[in-house]
C-alpha cells in the first residue's frame, strides 16, 4: 500500500517543507530490540535524511499513558508524525528497505 501513497503526496507541487521528518520512536526500557531500533534509526536518518529530521524517543515504562495516543501495541514502534499522513513501522528496523518504504522517504535528489 505504501507504494500507492506517494503519488498524491508528491502532487502538491511546492512541498512546503518537503524534507522535514518528525519521527517518534516508542520503546519500553532499554531492551536490545529498542537499542537496536534506535541505532538503526539514527544510522538510517543520517544516511537518508541528514539534517532534516528529528527523533523523539518515548520510553513507555516512564510514560505509559502515551501508548494509547498513537495506538502503540508493538515495541519498538516508529511513528512518522510528519510529514503527514501518519505512518507506523514496528520492529527493530533491521530491514532497511521496509523502513524506506514505510517512511516513504524520497531521496533528496529525487525525480523533479
Amino acid at each position: 500500500m505504501t507504494g500507492l501513497e506517494p503519488l498524491p503526496e508528491r502532487a502538491p507541487g511546492g512541498d512546503p517543507d518537503p524534507g522535514h521528518y518528525h519521527l517518534r520512536l516508542y520503546v519500553a526500557g532499554q531492551t536490545s530490540k529498542s537499542l537496536k531500533a534506535l541505532a538503526n534509526l539514527k544510522r538510517f536518518c543520517e544516511e537518508h535524511l541528514a539534517g532534516r529530521y528529528e527523533i523523539e524517543v518515548i520510553d513507555l515504562l516512564e510514560n505509559p499513558r502515551l501508548a494509547a495516543g498513537d495506538q502503540v501495541l508493538a515495541i519498538p514502534t516508529l511513528v512518522r508524525k510528519l510529514p503527514a499522513p501518519l505512518k507506523r513501522i514496528i520492529g527493530d528496523l533491521s530491514n532497511t528497505e521496509k523502513v524506506l518504504v514505510g517512511l516513504d522517504i524520497r531521496p533528496r535528489a529525487a525525480p523533479v
Partner: protein, 567 residues
Amino acid sequence: MPPDVIAADTAPATLLKAPTGIDGFDNITLGGLPAGRPSLVCGAAGCGKTLFAMTFLVNGANRYGEPGVFMSFEERAEDLAANVASLGYDLDGLVADGKLAIDHVHVERSEIEESGEYDLEGLFVRLGFAADSIGAKRVVLDTIETLFSGFTDPMLLRAELRRLFGWIKERGLTAVITGERGEGQLTRQGLEEYVSDCVVLLDNRVADQITTRRLRVVKYRGSAHGTNEYPFLIDGDGISVLPVTSSGLNRPASSEVVSSGVPGLDAMLRSGGLYRGSSILLSGVAGTGKTTIASHFADAACRRGERCLFFVFEESAQEICRNAESVGLDLPGWVKAGLLRFEAARPSLYGLEMHLARMHRDLDRFQPDVVVMDPISAFRGPDTEVHATLLRMMDLLKSRGITGLFTSLRNDGALQEGGDQGLSSLMDAWIRLQDLEADGERNRTLYLIKARGMSHSNQVREYRITDAGVELIEPYVGPEGVLTGSARLSQAAREQAAMTRRHQEAQRRRRELARKRDALERRMQEMRAALEAEEDEANLLLTQDDVHEAVLADDRTAVASLRGAAE
C-alpha cells in the same frame, strides 16, 4: 435455585472465584470465574460475548468493589457505552468514578509496516497502565484475536499471548478473554490452548426459525461446574443464565389440599380438592372452558392469599381478564393486589428451552405458590423435545412445591393425543373436558380421568359456564343413561309428569279404598242391628215358652193331686 445445580455454597476454598453477578452463571460455576486468572469466553458472532464480558466488569465495579479495564480491539468506547446503555449500564459514569477504564486498541494492518523484530510490550504497558490507574482487579480483552489480522507473524503473536496470559495471572487480574468461534476448535486462533483455566462457550442456535442462546462451561480447572448446556437470555435486564435440567425424583409430597376453584369439582374428590404441589392436566377441545376453569383456579389461589403466576401463550393478559370477568371473576383486582401475575408470550417467540429458561427466571422473581400454563399444547416442535421441556417444567414446579395447572387443547389429531398421553402419565390429576353433541345441541361435560392419591368420583358431570362461574350440575343417571342439556331437562320433566301421575293414581286408590271400607262398615252395622233384633225376638219367644211350660207343669201337678184324692 433448583437442586440440580450442585449446591453453590460448597465451592472449594482452594480456588477463589470472582462472581460475575450474572444470574445463574455463578450458580453453574459455583461462584463465578476463577479469580486472578484468565477465562476464555468464546462463541460465534452475535452470541453475546461482549455483553457477557461487559456485564462481568460492570457488576464487578458496582457490586463487588472490583474496578475493571475493558480493552476493546473492536468497538470504540463510545459504541460500547451506547450498546450497553439500554441495559442501564452507565459506562461513562463508571469511567468518571474511576471504576472502569476503557481502552480501544485500534489495529489496522494497512497502517503498519513491519521491519525486524518486535514484541507486544506496548499492549502490556497500556493494560498495565489502565489497570494501575484505577486499581483494577478485572480485565476484559475483547476480542484479542483481532491482533492476528493486524500482525503478520502468528508465531510471535502466540508467544506474546502466552506471555500476556501469564502476566495477567502474575498480576492476579481476573480476566475475560473473548474469542470468535472457529472451525473445528473453540476459537479461530486456538486461544483455548493458552487460556486453560476456564472456558465458557456461548452458542446461538437457530432451529425451525427460532433462536436459542445457550451457554456451556467447557472446562473449569480445579472446580466442579455444571456441565450441561444452559439456555441464557439477553433482555432488558442483561444476561441471565438459567440452570434448568431435569432434577431428581426427590421432593417432598404435601398432603395439604387446595381448592380447584370450582366447588363441584372439589366435591368430586374425596379430599375436597387437589394436593398442593401436584400437577394437574386440564385437557379438552376448543371451547370447553379450559381457560375459564384455569381462571377459577387462579382466582381461588389468590383468594387464599397465595401468589399465582399465569403463563399465557395464546391470549393477552387483558383478554384473559376480560373473559374471566364475564364469569364473575375479578382477576385485575388480584393483579393490582400483587398476588397474580400474567406472563404472556407467543410460543414461537422463543425456542422451547428459552421458554423454560424464561419461566425459570419468572418463578425466581415472583415466587408463586400456584402456576397456570395455558395452554401447553401451544408448544410446537418435535414431540420428544416438547415432552422433555414440559417434563422439566413440571419438575421445576414440583421441586418447589408449586401447584401447577396445565391446560391442553386436545385435537383429535394423533399428535396431540399422543402428547397428552405422554404427559398424562406425569400428571397427578387429569381432568378431561368434553363436548357432548346430541339432539342438536352441545353440552359440556367433565370427568376425572385420574387423581393420584385420592378417591374420586367416576361420574361424567355436566357443567355450565354461567355469570357466576363454572357450575357443575347434579348428574342425571337413569335407566336411559347419562343425559345432558335439554335431554336431561326433558327427561327430568317426563319423570316429573310420571311421578305426578303415579301420585294421583295412588291418591285415587286410597280414596276408593276408604269409600269401600265405609260401605262395608255400614253394611256390617246394618247386619249387626238385624241380628240384634232377631236375638231380641228369639229371647222373647223363649221366655214365653218357659212361662208356658211352667204353667203346664203347674196344671199337671194340680190335676194329679186331684186325681190322687179321688182314688
